[in-house]
């Protein structure tokens, strides 16, 4: 168990961390290549979409052929995508490398694929905690890599920094062997086809409720992440306040993901999820209702940081609890697709409604309302293992 957890945590630290600082390349690349910001932003939007869309397929392959194979291919895609991103001289090539290739790489090296192995190799009573550890590692990667990548760009130039990150992404290859599962691990217990597992999950109300909750998670997190700096600037706060807020979110996100995973050992995960979404709604309403000061921003960033990715361990642990672990990566990929659709809408609607109304007020209220919605829809989730006809007959 230790080896799976350690290697899984390190893989997620790298895969989540490397991508998190991509925004730092915007200015050097667009200036050097003479591109517009839209070219860069479009590639990152494609990256997020392809990550989400490829997620279920990467999960399917990981469940069928072994996560370590998918991780190795994902790592090669990651390294190749970073090198091609550095060498791209046209907008199309940049979209293909930084967008499509890196999106595919992330689908093969992040939570869903790693969680499948953790699910199959950690005892059910320790599963939520183990997922919390892996999620905290991913959060730490995000927190760590922004200043590291900033230092790499400053010290070696933007192009060499991408080459160095490509080398770093290759470190996933040896780590993937730590997640190599013996065939016996996968062959035990009730066997089900991929199609049957998918039909079963998509027709099971609790799975759809979890997907709805994760959609809200994506909407809120990415709306706040992308639009909050502009919101603070509109209200006359200095850029340093926004930077400190980012650091506080990153710091408390590590704590929140670990705590949420640990709590999953002791109480029903649906209550943890419901509480997280309800607290998000309360925190957002309080934040937009009180006068905006640096202190109110720091309190908001710290509390939202605790709630940031803390939905990841309980959501995935419930999936394993209900459906078992045979197709956990695939099912995790499906709920993550819902998360990414929410992310896309959070970014897009944030900008669209700002342009239409001249403020972010409406979107803040939508984010709070969605938090209440997610808190409610998680309550009826049935966490008990699903009873299958074939199992009953056996």
């Amino acid at each position: 168990m230790k080896q799976v957890l350690l290697c899984g945590a390190m893989i997620v630290t790298l895969s989540m961390g490397i991508r998190h600082g991509f925004g730092l390349w915007l200015q050097p690349i667009t200036m050097d290549r003479g591109w517009t910001r839209e070219t860069f932003a479009f590639a990152l939007a494609i990256q997020n979409l392809s990550w989400g869309i490829a997620g279920p397929f990467a999960g399917m392959l990981a469940d069928r052929y072994g996560a370590f194979r998918v991780l190795i291919v994902g790592s090669l895609f990651y390294a190749g995508g970073l090198v091609l991103m550095a060498l791209a001289t046209s907008g199309l090539a940049f979209t293909g490398s930084a967008g499509l290739v890196l999106g595919l790489a992330q689908s093969g090296t992040t939570y869903a694929v790693v969680y499948g192995v953790i699910g199959r190799n950690v005892a059910p009573e320790k599963r939520s905690w183990a997922m919390g550890v892996a999620a905290a590692a991913g959060s730490f990667g995000q927190f760590l890599m922004v200043p590291v990548e900033n230092w790499l760009i400053g010290s070696f130039g933007w192009q060499n920094a991408l080459f160095l990150l490509g080398c770093l992404a290759l470190a996933i290859v040896p780590l993937a062997f730590g997640l190599k599962e013996p065939a016996a691990t996968k062959a035990t217990g009730f066997q089900q086809s991929i199609g049957s597992a998918l039909r079963e999950a998509l027709s099971y109300p609790s799975f759809l409720l979890l997907m709805a909750g994760y959609f809200v998670c994506g909407f809120q997190v990415v709306f706040i992440g992308v639009h909050m700096p502009s919101y603070l600037k509109d209200h006359g706060l200095t850029p340093n306040v926004a930077t400190t807020a980012l650091a506080l979110i990153g710091l408390f996100n590590v704590v929140g993901t670990y705590v949420a995973g640990s709590l999953g050992e002791r109480m029903p995960k649906k209550y943890i999820l419901s509480t997280i979404y309800a607290l998000r709604a309360v925190v957002i309403v309080v934040f937009i209702s009180v006068p905006l000061t640096p202190m109110s921003v720091y309190v908001f960033a710290s509390t939202m940081g605790v709630l940031w990715l803390s939905t990841v361990p309980p959501t995935n642990a419930v999936i394993a609890q209900i459906f078992g672990v045979q197709y956990m990566s695939m099912l995790g990929g499906f709920v993550f697709l819902s998360h990414q659709v929410g992310s896309f809408l959070g970014v897009w609607l944030g900008g669209r409604l700002y342009d239409a109304t001249g403020s972010y007020d409406v979107v803040w209220w939508i984010a709070a309302g969605l938090g209440v919605f997610a808190a409610i829809v998680n309550l009826p989730v049935r966490e008990a293992a699903i009873t299958r006809v074939a199992q009953r007959a056996a």
Partner: protein, 40 residues
């Protein structure tokens, strides 16, 4: 065992605080303040 656990938690806290301090370095803060929205 308890001592090892305390040491591990202390080390983790120290690393987190060091990374947090890195964000507050003036040159990092300046870059991030300019490009903050792109970091998500």
């Amino acid at each position: 065992m308890k001592l090892r656990r305390i040491a591990a938690w202390s080390a983790a806290t120290l690393v987190l605080l060091l990374v947090f301090a890195a964000y507050l370095q003036p040159e990092v803060a300046f870059t991030l303040a300019n490009q903050l929205w792109n970091c998500f």
